[in-house]
């Protein structure tokens, strides 16, 4: 049995076992074989990069990058899910459903990353919606129910739109006399296709998968979902699902970029990205719920990534580098904000304060993450944003660059004022004594992720640079760093 089958069959069996075994600690112990399997799969994929695994699966540099990243984020997600379940005394039934859904969610994300057939990619994206519904509903209260309903409903519309995009692509392939939807076949026949169909296909793909990457037009339910779901799941949404949505859109972009619609697609992505950053800036100025604040910050970064792709040249590199650094920082912020919520027992920024005193290690992690997410040096995001601006300038997009810089200032102010309030605002002494302290050990996973993000900013490993260069090498007008 090859490792691909082992991974899929093994994980599904583990998920089934998790659902059947109803013991809290035992249920979490089952994550050890799953994470082992996930790491083993990532390790084996590394050595079979660019080989054909199967009729429908292949691992290339792009999937490898995000596969590693998913595995890196998945481990602390499980740790924090365990810690929070222990503290909240979740019922056994809730834990078993949550864990099984979490495993299947990670498997579905892996599936999107390694699919080499458009249809399969879409089916796995559909599977992420199904499994995330159970994760969002985990707390079983009215807010969670509302978020789940909205997410499922709108994500279904999104996935239906994406399917429509694939149908249009299907018509285009029939015109080109090659009715085959695997990425390799599409890349060969794409030049014979009618550009009108490709344009319609791309529009619906971007609109449809926008619910996964979390940009305009369908971003609102993603925000609600991250607000209502447990923080560890919010981390996986921002640090995993966002990348998966990007990969889904990027696969189509890569294939279509060798046709005459390349410039048109760039315009679409630029408008989508810029409106996303605009909405993020508007909401970040007024939002008072810190979980929603980070969700809107993900909207901003997803928008930035699309703008980087649309700028072309060195922007392709910047986009992927940005996603990597963003995943590490945003995941650690979501983990830490879960602890903040646990400490104060609510999500309102204005009624918090002095977190650095209450939980020094966690507060410091929040502070470092805050510097990181706002793309101040030495954060990895600083490098990618500089490169994005460089790409915009070389592409003569002065207006976009100016608008972007303007909006980013608002975001800096909006997030800055809220986060500094959480960290430093003095609280009355009697409130400070009544607060439950959280052990500093629980912040260790955040520190590891944050140190990774800082390393990316100070000394980006050459192996990673090569991998990103390979991932974007097939695009037209790509500029080597």
């Amino acid at each position: 049995m090859d490792f691909l089958e082992l991974y899929f069959i093994g994980s599904v069996l583990i998920a089934l076992l998790m659902y059947l075994v109803k013991g809290r600690k035992l249920d979490y112990l089952l994550f050890i074989p799953f994470l082992g399997l996930q790491i083993y799969f990532t390790y084996r994929s590394w050595f079979s990069m660019n080989q054909v695994l199967d009729e429908y699966f292949s691992v290339d540099a792009l999937s490898m990058i995000f596969l590693i990243l998913n595995t890196v984020v998945a481990v602390p997600t499980v740790i924090h899910a365990f810690l929070s379940a222990e503290r909240k005394h979740d019922s056994r039934r809730a834990v078993s459903i949550h864990n099984a859904a979490l495993v299947l969610f990670i498997v579905a994300m892996t599936g999107v990353l390694i699919s080499s057939h458009v249809g399969l990619l879409w089916a796995f994206a559909e599977a992420t919606t199904l499994t995330s519904a159970a994760l969002i509903y985990h707390d079983r209260n009215l807010v969670a129910l509302e978020a789940t309903w909205k997410y499922v409903f709108v994500a279904s519309i999104g996935i239906a739109f994406a399917f429509l995009g694939i149908l249009f692509l299907g018509i285009a392939t029939q015109d080109a006399q090659s009715p085959d939807l695997s990425l390799v076949a599409l890349a060969k026949s794409v030049n014979a296709m009618e550009s009108t169909w490709l344009k319609m296909s791309f529009l619906f793909i971007v609109a449809g998968f926008s619910v996964k990457i979390g940009t305009v037009p369908l971003f609102t339910v993603e925000i609600d979902a991250k607000d209502a779901a447990p923080s560890a799941i919010g981390a996986l949404f921002s640090g995993g699902l966002l990348n998966v949505g990007f990969v889904a859109i990027f696969r189509f972009y890569e294939v279509f970029s060798h046709t005459e619609i390349h410039a048109w697609m760039n315009k679409v992505l630029m408008i989508t990205g810029l409106t996303s950053v605009f909405f993020a800036a508007v909401y970040l100025l007024s939002v008072k719920n810190f979980k929603r604040m980070f969700a809107y910050s993900s909207l901003e970064h997803a928008g930035l990534v699309l703008i980087a792709v649309s700028a072309g040249g060195v922007g392709y590199f910047a986009a992927i580098f940005h996603l990597i650094a963003h995943s590490l920082i945003k995941a650690s912020l979501f983990f830490q904000i879960g602890q903040v919520q646990q400490t104060f027992r609510h999500k309102n920024v204005e009624r918090t304060g002095n977190y650095l005193r209450i939980n020094p290690w966690g507060g410091a992690a929040l502070l470092v993450g805050f510097v990181g997410i706002l793309a101040l040096p030495p954060s990895g995001l600083f490098i990618s944003e500089v490169l994005t601006f460089k790409a915009l300038i070389t592409g003569d997009h002065w207006l976009v660059m100016g608008l972007l810089a303007f909006l980013l200032t608002f975001i800096l102010y909006g997030m800055g004022s809220s986060l500094l309030q959480v960290l430093f605002k003095p609280l009355p002494a009697e409130e400070l004594t009544s607060i439950e302290r959280i052990s500093a050990w629980e912040s260790v996973p955040e520190w590891i992720l944050l140190l990774g993000a800082l390393t990316l900013g100070l000394y980006p490993p050459p192996a990673l640079n090569n991998l990103i260069q390979t991932a974007v090498a097939h695009l037209p007008n790509v500029v080597k760093l």
Partner: protein, 209 residues
């Protein structure tokens, strides 16, 4: 014959925009399921038998019996078989539907393509847009759900137009149908209607900034 069925499908769409009782909307869904069953039966005779049987079962049993039955059970249990308030006037609804049809026709002719079956394209694009229309301009969650199912019927019809050359596409359409509809109906039937005891959308407004 296929054309006749598709035209009948388009007529059900017109009716869905002005139907003012839940029960008639649900009946429309059942009829649409039957019509799509007919189209699949006539259109897909050259694909392999097992796949064909599966598709026919899905359209006949799932689309035209199971889904309407579940929705009907919800409205009787919640005692809401009264009017589903149309908050646009009758004339506006009819006018919008006609505009949608006209737009779809013009679009289909504009795109003129040898592989594009104009009648399929018009009916399915109209169904998709009318589904969205119902989701935007109606107030209850149940009409939104029905709007979504109409949208999905439109997409499924479109996939049948491509189906004889690419059977995989039809299977994907079925996947979409089964999973999303089951999930949406599952949450809707089990949770929303119980917990809120109310199927107006206005109750779902806790999440905001």
């Amino acid at each position: 014959m296929v054309n006749l069925l598709i035209i009948a499908f388009a007529m059900t769409l017109t009716y869905s925009a002005i139907a003012n009782r839940f029960s008639s909307l649900i009946r429309i869904l059942a009829i649409q399921g039957l019509l799509i069953f007919g189209v699949a039966l006539l259109e897909l005779h050259q694909i392999n038998l097992i796949n064909l049987i599966f598709i026919l079962l899905e359209t006949l049993v799932f689309k035209s019996i199971l889904v309407p039955a579940i929705l009907y059970a919800v409205i009787t249990r919640n005692k809401v078989s009264r009017d589903c308030e149309i908050n646009k006037s009758f004339f506006n609804s009819i006018f919008s539907v006609i505009a949608i049809f006209a737009f779809s026709f013009v679009l289909a002719y504009q795109l003129h393509d040898e592989h594009l079956k104009i009648i399929y394209f018009t009916a399915s694009v109209s169904a998709i847009m009318i589904g969205i229309f119902l989701m935007i301009f109606r107030k209850t969650i149940i009409t939104h759900t029905i709007g979504y199912i109409i949208l999905e019927n439109g997409i499924f019809l479109f996939s049948l137009a491509l189906g004889s050359d690419m059977p995989m596409i039809v299977n994907m359409g079925i996947l979409l149908d089964l999973f999303s509809t089951v999930l949406i109906l599952g949450i809707f039937v089990n949770r929303i209607s119980d917990v809120f005891n109310n199927i107006e959308v206005d109750v779902l407004t806790t999440l905001k900034d």
